[in-house]
Symmetry: C2
Subunit: 292 residues, 2 copies
DNA sequence: GTTCCGCATGAATCGATAG
DNA sequence: ACTATCGATTCATGCGGAA
């Protein structure tokens, strides 16, 4: 089954280069949130919207190469406003990826319950992002039972409560069941979720800023992988995807351009799973681990 | 200000032809849910996905002509699954409409709280749809105060205050019918909504399953028009957009291909607002009105 | 040990100001 | 004219300290 690959590691460098060092078809799931157009100027140079597709396509080609045939790719992304309009680079990217051979199997909607505040004359606060589900084949691994949610409490009450919930915002108390362990709900009626995920972003962690909440990669990892499988995030950032993989007994490979993020991610990982992380290695950042 | 236009009427026929009879820049808002690709085979011939954009573009060109410069176009649409993948015709349509001159100002997400049941091996139930907000100019009419909602923890705070709780309960009872009136919540604790709409689909209309719930066009009509403004729906169906307009004291113009939908819509409209509808005329369906 | 309140913090966006 | 920077706007969340 191909050559051995080092896992539970965060590579330091540009994923355009690092990905080339990975063997073919070694990854079960890719979950990532690439820098949006004109964002992260200090790291990826703030790719302009009209160059975004051209910048990203070589990366998705490599991602497709390292993904197993039955694997999945979850791409979290959102159009930024460009000159008063939503940018079209996301649509263009998806269309181009299909020409690369990717199948656009599904689009999940991440509803950000706590979105960024603000007021503008022509739009409201942006409270959702795309999570494109791309695959190499029509047949792929999917374990729907792993993400079932309890019925009743939240789903049924909402439907009964029409007078109040028509246009009133989402009930803040409904946790939607995401992130709950199925074991916690044994004995209750479980139903399959929909393709809309209700999750709040994590804001109060002063040490690091994660682009998506831990529950987001956890949900997709449960849905598309089994224990021991390998999860890849080519834009690892503060290590949220790696944390999710470790929590669920999956292996991870991360790539990150900024050295300080790697040190941060490893410290968090070690704090959560000291035994496991002690065995892992981090390229170019061995010193960092001495801190703890 | 252009020639007079007959309002509160549902035209019978193909919107590709009927739209040409409308004058330039006479409509304040367009809200519609066009037949999705391969749907409604009996009416629009079941436009195949790969022909969808070519079929729809002449219509959007006419829509752009009849829309006032400061008006808005809300396009509710969703990608159908085509051969295991999400179809790309929606993305291609939006990109093509921009080349027509439309501005893609925003994309609202309609979260369908009670979505269609079912189970598939490769996807979950589809619980959201696009509502593209397209405009002719960067400056357009928008009345954000008309759709404000109570603050997130509003309910919790009030539950601790008994006297105020009773007040709230009374208010919600008295208005327990349709559309949250902003007046109900005036006093404090109102915030602007986000671009995610949480609405339940209307279940089991005996004669016809409405494409979208009444609250959906009502929300956009409140947001983008004032009383007396004109709302157009070129795919009127069972008349949901017209009902929304009437409820909010706006005028409507509808177009529908199927005669039986027009009769149904007019009967519903008359039942809800007999006085108003009595004055209205329905092209090609005068006989229907004699029934009541 | 609870509950409550204050406060910092976000993949934001617009419009004005400055170079 | 065109781009870069900055202040103003705004609210759900979770933490820490106080009662």
């Amino acid at each position: 089954m191909g050559k051995q690959i080092e896992t539970n590691i965060i590579h330091h460098g540009d994923c355009r280069r690092i990905l080339q060092t990975l063997p073919d078809e070694c990854v079960d799931l890719i979950v990532t949130s690439p820098p949006y157009a004109d964002r992260r100027k200090h790291t990826y140079g703030g790719v302009p919207p009209d160059e975004y597709v051209g910048w990203f396509l070589p990366i998705t080609a490599e991602l497709r190469r390292v993904l197993k045939p039955e694997g999945s790719f979850i791409l979290n992304i959102k159009e930024r406003v460009v000159d008063g309009e939503r940018g079209t680079y996301v649509m263009e990217l998806v269309l181009a990826m299909r020409k690369q051979g990717w199948l656009w199997t599904e689009e999940y909607c991440w509803h950000k319950k706590n979105c960024y505040p603000g007021k503008w004359p022509n739009r409201f606060r942006d409270a959702w992002e795309h999570c494109y589900h791309l695959t190499k084949q029509k047949e792929f691994k999917m374990f729907q039972e792993a993400v079932m949610v309890p019925m009743g409490d939240w789903a049924e009450k909402r439907l009964k409560n029409l007078s109040k919930t028509d246009l009133v915002r989402d009930e803040s108390r409904s946790k939607s069941g995401f992130g709950k362990r199925v074991a916690n709900w044994i004995g209750r009626d479980l139903v399959y979720p929909t393709n809309v995920l209700h999750l709040a972003t994590e804001v109060s962690n002063k040490n690091h800023s994660a682009v998506f909440p831990l529950e987001l990669p956890m949900w997709f990892i449960r849905l598309f992988t089994q224990k021991g499988d390998l999860v890849l995030d080519p834009f690892m950032g503060s290590g949220t995807t790696a944390r999710a993989a470790v929590k669920l007994d999956r292996k991870y490979v991360g790539i990150e351009l900024q050295q300080e993020y790697i040190g941060l991610a490893n410290r968090v990982l070690q704090a959560e799973q000291p035994a496991l992380i002690a065995e892992s290695k981090t390229a170019y950042s061995v010193k960092k681990r001495k801190k703890r």
